[in-house]
Symmetry: C3
Subunit: 675 residues, 3 copies
């Protein structure tokens, strides 16, 4: 066998679990894969029980045969470390691997992910298995990437066992050095919570009422770090033994338990699993996640590691993806910077909890299904886009997104517990998406000099250096937008004293004297001053109202009702060369859209081309090459006007076009031009 080395091609394939089938089926799999243009498969993700029948015995024979078969067929292997689901014998012989819930009840073997991330036993068995896999396959021609574990924290992202409590204390001591510092950070002189010795600190499990917010916040950090340590314990083995082979794990959408920015530093390639809710957020939510995943490693192309061909099995109601939708959303991944499109899974299971999860090969078991036909069409089409590999998105707009902020903002006992971070972020991402504005997702302390516009919705936590970073960005001419309940706490959820939003008061030119929580059916109104012609009008607002005192800023809109009627609701402050906007309520979609349009005009930020509503447009760049992606999310055909006097190469149709292009319902075009 000659060694495969992954060429400059888009990856196409899926999770492949041949251990569920007799080996004669494997051969037919190869045939069907080749026919569908599959060049990449993830294997071994749930194979631990098969690879290791007991503590002392390993069996790699079947995996040897599989790897050889893949190599023979020119299919690259994303070889999993198989640690996502420990074998039954381990759970029975070592119950210390099993996670514990907040009531002290222990999870059991029988589904998957039944391990405590701080279990020493689990980690030792894992490292041993990974070492053996790396030894055995390090020179195998099919080995292309290492897939560590699977969807970390999908089910078990909290554990309250004694091992975790011990590890938490070690983690805290490393973070705070002294118990006095911890007491100060957590504010333990409240409710008689002061600690005198590290041994007194426990996990925030079952408490009579709200646990200490500092403790809760650090526990979330600790659990993200504990899972990351799990990952790293495998990563380091692999990096040492096979330094050339990229190592990855697969993230999940809108997944709160992991600080993805911190994790991504330790991945060679970011990959994620996209399962859009069928009833809401389509196609905006997955676009945001694509942008987030691309941004985690500063624009480096990512892989879409999982999506489903048609219906999943784990929602209450699992509708099919309509014909063409799977193809459309696959291209959306590439359009946002993805260099591959993969599925869970290759062949639908005959048994087990996921047998009703869609697959590339359905329960017909052959090529005679609508789904396979679409899969094969897409796979063969994608070959035409190999030149896109490695190209990048260039954004002038960024949205600040921070996991610490997410965790802190959604701790309990807030003024309004309906305030959800993702919803606030999406309120501002959504109009940018609909205007086809390229958006990076960035951290609050990150260098912002590449951007003209930065939006920081609900930036509740302002950590050290962040206010200065934002001030510098605006001072040098940037435009910042932030919203209510920003600038309230420090990195330990302690109030920034001195009047809200203390660290941002100077930049925003306001003081928030009080805030009011609206009930679920309650509303207020905001009216934009007549002067600001693009915003003029009266709009509905809900959820929250700041009582704002101007300290240099100018009011763009005022509240319409209640005792604070007439006081500022939306403000803008000139600061150095730039401007800082503040929105002191949850304005309705109409207002936010107008505000974003106003700011886009002001900053001169534009979409790649003008397109009809419902048509998504992105542009990937490499050298002087530009590749436009046009995605018609409409259920009807539309015509998109292109830039005058430009000639575009239509990569999927292998033609040249000018002036305009017709897109059918759910249609896609990929147009190449040079600058």
């Amino acid at each position: 066998m000659t060694s495969l080395k992954f060429p400059n091609k888009l990856c196409y394939g899926g999770d492949y679990n041949p251990e569920q089938w007799p080996e004669e089926v494997w051969l037919d799999d190869m045939r069907l894969m080749r026919k569908a243009g599959v060049n990449f498969v993830s294997i071994g993700i749930f194979s631990w029980a098969l690879l290791q029948p007991n503590a002392d015995t390993y069996d790699f024979a079947w995996l040897d045969r599989l790897m050889d078969l893949l190599a023979e067929n020119g299919i690259y292997a994303d070889l999993a470390t198989a640690t996502a689901s420990p074998p039954a014998w381990m759970a029975v012989n070592h119950p210390d691997i099993l996670p514990v819930d907040e009531n002290g009840a222990q999870f059991q073997h029988g589904s998957r992910q039944h391990y405590c991330p701080n279990s020493r036993t689990y980690r030792e068995y894992s490292k041993k298995l990974v070492t053996l896999l790396a030894e055995r396959y390090q020179n195998h021609p099919a080995l292309t990437m290492w897939h560590v574990n699977n969807e970390y924290g999908c089910h078990i992202n909290r554990c309250y066992c004694d091992q975790c409590a011990d590890a938490f204390r070690v983690w805290l001591e490393a973070r705070y050095q002294t118990i006095d510092e911890l007491n100060a950070r957590w504010g333990t002189n409240f409710w008689s919570q002061k600690y005198y010795r590290w041994e007194e600190i426990g996990l925030p499990s079952k408490t009579p009422t709200y646990a200490n917010p500092g403790q809760l916040l650090d526990y979330q950090r600790f659990m993200s770090d504990s899972l990351l340590d799990c990952y790293l314990s495998e990563y380091h083995v692999l990096k040492e033994m096979t330094p050339e082979i990229p190592v990855l794990t697969n993230f999940m959408p809108h997944h709160k338990p992991l600080d993805h920015f911190k994790w991504a530093q330790h991945l060679d390639i970011v990959t994620w699993d996209s399962y859009p809710e069928p009833t809401k957020g389509i196609p905006v939510d997955q676009a945001f996640d694509h942008d987030l995943m691309r941004s985690l490693r500063h624009g480096q192309p990512f892989l879409l590691m999982e999506q489903v061909t048609s219906n999943v099995n784990w929602r209450e109601h699992n509708p099919m993806k309509r014909p063409g939708v799977m193809r459309l959303w696959s291209y959306q991944a590439v359009a946002h910077g993805g260099d591959g499109v993969m599925f869970f899974q290759w062949r639908a299971s005959q048994a087990g909890a996921e047998k009703y999860h869609g697959a590339m090969v359905t329960h017909t078991g052959d090529e005679h299904s609508r789904v396979y036909r679409e899969v094969a069409q897409l796979g063969n089409e994608l070959k035409k886009l190999d030149s896109v590999v490695g190209s990048r998105i260039q954004a002038k707009t960024a949205i600040i997104f921070d996991y610490d902020n997410w965790w802190a903002l959604e701790l309990p006992s807030k003024p309004n517990n309906d305030l959800k971070y993702i919803e606030q972020v999406m309120q501002y991402y959504s109009p940018l998406f609909h205007h086809n504005i390229a958006v990076d997702i960035v951290q609050p302390s990150q260098d912002l000099s590449a951007y003209d516009l930065v939006i920081a919705p609900a930036l509740y936590m302002v950590k050290p250096g962040v206010a200065e970073n934002l001030e510098q960005f605006v001072e040098r001419g940037g435009t910042l937008v932030t919203t209510f309940f920003s600038g309230i706490v420090d990195e330990n959820d302690r109030i920034h004293m001195g009047g809200y939003p203390a660290p941002l008061r100077k930049l925003l030119g306001i003081c928030v004297e009080e805030f009011d929580a609206m009930l679920q059916d309650q509303h207020n109104a905001i009216t934009a001053a007549e002067g600001s012609s693009t915003l003029q009008g009266t709009y509905r607002c809900s959820l929250w109202a700041d009582v704002i005192r101007l300290e240099g800023a100018q009011a763009l809109a005022h509240f319409g009702q209640d005792f604070f009627a007439g006081s500022p609701a939306v403000t803008v402050n000139t600061f150095g060369q730039g401007r800082a906007y503040y929105v002191g309520t949850q304005a309705d979609e109409q207002f936010v859209t107008k505000l974003i349009q106003h700011i886009l005009t002001e900053t001169g930020i534009q979409a790649p081309i003008d397109a009809p509503k419902g048509v998504e447009v992105t542009c990937r760049e490499q050298g002087s090459d530009r590749t436009l992606f046009l995605l018609n999310h409409h259920a009807e055909a539309v015509t998109v006007l292109l830039k005058d006097k430009m000639i575009y190469q239509d990569l999927l149709q292998d033609t040249s076009i000018q002036s305009q292009i017709e897109l059918p319902a759910n249609g896609v075009a990929v147009l190449r031009f040079q600058i």
Copy 2:
């Protein structure tokens, strides 16, 4: 005392708990029972604590007096084995009898049914008590039936203790012989679940996500069998010591945890407790349960062991039964094949959790209540129907109902988790009921040659031999109706490969290419071809849509919307001498009613007589005797036309009638004629 032997009479009475009252009340009970026509009472159901003050002491003196008193008053005893609620001392001294929930928390003494069905301690104490009871009362003249335990699995039908885990492994080994076979059946190569030794297998308790469906399914079977073993351990003692005395236990309506067909093989008489929901399913649901209970032992008359005279106490809101309703529903039991009408309970408790549960004697404590007056009226009236005892219902229509199918269909992670088996069954039972068609409830592998029409709603699981049984039935001229998501899995919830519904494709002449789950507010339409005049029209459908390819069948109706608009929704296939219908969606009531009418016309199946809407009609047969039951579920009087030129004997009115009969609101008539 002379020995009582239960005569050919309808049983009438109720649960009798005299231990709650001083013995002077017992004498008044006898007077009130005789006045009300009571001839049968269940005693001792919750008397264990009284019968056995501690591990070594028994006290039967009070029960001796009670049995004697009953015999003296000519009242037959359904003597309970008293094992339904173990005494406090047992729970305290032997905590191993207490069941454990899926989180590992143990139930405690303080209500009832606090025993693990696999507890050896519980079983030993139970057998000892039953042996003593049988020894003591085997020759007592009042002893008429043995009432084993009570409502098995009412509260505790799952236990996750170590004893259950041990028993589960024994049960599995008996079922599958080898661990390889178990692995194959459960599909454990999914999610790394493979077992190498029996000791590795646990109960499907607290898992991070979905447990293995094969394990879940077998656990439900195992728990039904564990409770059955409990029952049998008492049954065998009784059968050995008093082979002449019938042994029973009482079932519950729509009770999923027990496989009633399997249980009924070990009962001498089927009995059940009817508590219709006051807000829905009246009077259809209880009719279905009556038919099920009658069918469990192939038409043998059953006993209605419990119902309430007026309000129960265990719903959130407990309305009264309006005057006349208790009588009407009591006759409904007889009309469907019941040979007795009993109540829980005789005298309303003064204390305890059920003191607000209605009774034959209310808290007035005497005969001066509306309830007692109705009870006495009914009891004295029923004496006129003694000639009905032993007669049977003859049905040409059967509905297939299978507990394995119920369990498997409602396991989690299905395409649409709103799909509930009972609802699908009732969708087809209901129009048959409203047409007064006699229906038997049968198992899928049962001999079907007695029927002209067999309906198998949502026959998701097709076990070995079932497809052949259905094919044979149709081939010989029968008409089969089945519906979406049928024929999908085998007895271990593994997909029947080869295109849905693989084992039924030939019989139905279709292939289901995909299925779509509709959301809760989502609908589609089906339109019946103009040719099929009786079905013609457009109807609403919901929940589910199959994408069907015809393979010999003919389409009777097509979908109206979505990308599969125009593809078949309802089909019929000629197979041998018969026809096989398939309904690939949840059609609305109007369509199902028309379809059933169409098929009744086609098969020539008829009601005993034509009756106005809302009047239920059944017929019990014995030799050449026919007894018509007419039940007016309307709140207004109606006139029912009888067959011309026939003379009917009105058993309740002791008159002869012809041509027609007037039924008042909630009214009942029982008419005898000869053929």
Copy 3:
């Protein structure tokens, strides 16, 4: 330092937690307190961890400095015993102090109130701390009151640990003497629950279904008593060492777990914490609680110990109190007999679970907030009302309210589980409130001779002597009103046999033959006879319908629908010199209001003055002084007409007025006159 002795002044201040701040802030606190008229603060409530770093070490130095500082500034200290939240080291070293839930899961340190009330360890540590505090500060000039613990039972009012089980058995043996008596009281011959030895009795924790109601009821009594024992163990130490210093703890609104009447016997001053729901019950619910608190010690003035200045943090949505509302509600407390107005808390926390709970000094940290301005205005205004201190409310109307009744009525498995005691009480309190009728809240066995009208809504439990007490009250000329589901059970939740409502049948002149529970969307109608002109009309009723037979009473209204249409719904019976009304359904607000008006006219009970709707009026009396409180709960100004030819001293405005007074929105007037 000279000793402070609390003068005849209204208390004003709040919870003060200076341990959360550096000591330099304390000095500014003193300045801001003096400026705001603060004269009283509660300190040390959550200071245990600070006062006792470990089992053997105490540190009172900071508290010494604080007490001195208060004394120097003329601020009186309500010194807490600091036992509300045990330190972390205690939880770690003595896990037996931690409470256990009904599943056996143990609560952990990390929030507050994590102690089992029956923990010996907790009690010993508590007593030792209290002893040291009393020793140290018994002669301190700032010490004015002892604040024992805090909000007993707020979070933990049930514990299922072994210590509680032991204590429960001791409690039961003391109550019932013999096991036979307990069996009789609990009715254990139901469901085989009979006990033979005390050791067999457990707590009503996790049971398969409803536990024994007698056990559940006694468990609630036992837990109230257990918490009271906790309180008393501190109280006795304090009373012995500082007999002159009043001892108190703070109650909560509508707080079911504690029998406040029983507790209040052991408090020197009743205090409570008022947190009205923002969306309902304003301003009636807090008025009821004020009246209850005043009544607990038979009219002795109470303290409002906690309220919030603006928003709290522990509801899902926490709106601000609008300007003026805090002042209005503060006066409402005084108007109902309060001699002080306090807040939680003085200064808003920077960290911890309550940092978003409003305070007198907000996160601005200074006097520059709307909230502080209102706080300072009120504090300085209240000084004008010092002459009110000690004056009392004189009521001719009483509502019977009983915690045993509350507990029993809301046990599970009732005819209608939507029947809630507080709602039934408020249905009758509310029209009295809106008519500005002074109301005392009394126990059923209390001497009622001071009242002309007594209302006993839903007096489900009639304990020994109660029927006689009510009969005597009516016989001597009083008017009694009671409602459906009254007179049903004895003190152990056993039915009073002999026809509902057995012990009240003679007094009410009726028998309730049956009762019906209405579903949530179900209604009936009641029509008042034409003769009773003030009630005439047809009204809606819901929840419940009694089928009533008259036995001497007269029907005032009849049911309109269902089979009991035309039977009595509301009755009145002449008994001795008085009259006894009965309302056999949940009538709508309109009917109850008319009925109350009818009875007020009949009994001649009047408001202090006639006031427009929405203006609350109360009168406090002392010698010949009368002080009228006029509270405008409207959002608009209103004019209140005063009695002709009277001269009133306006205490807040320092003027004399006649004839009428104008009240702004949320406005308050306090008018003094003499009789």
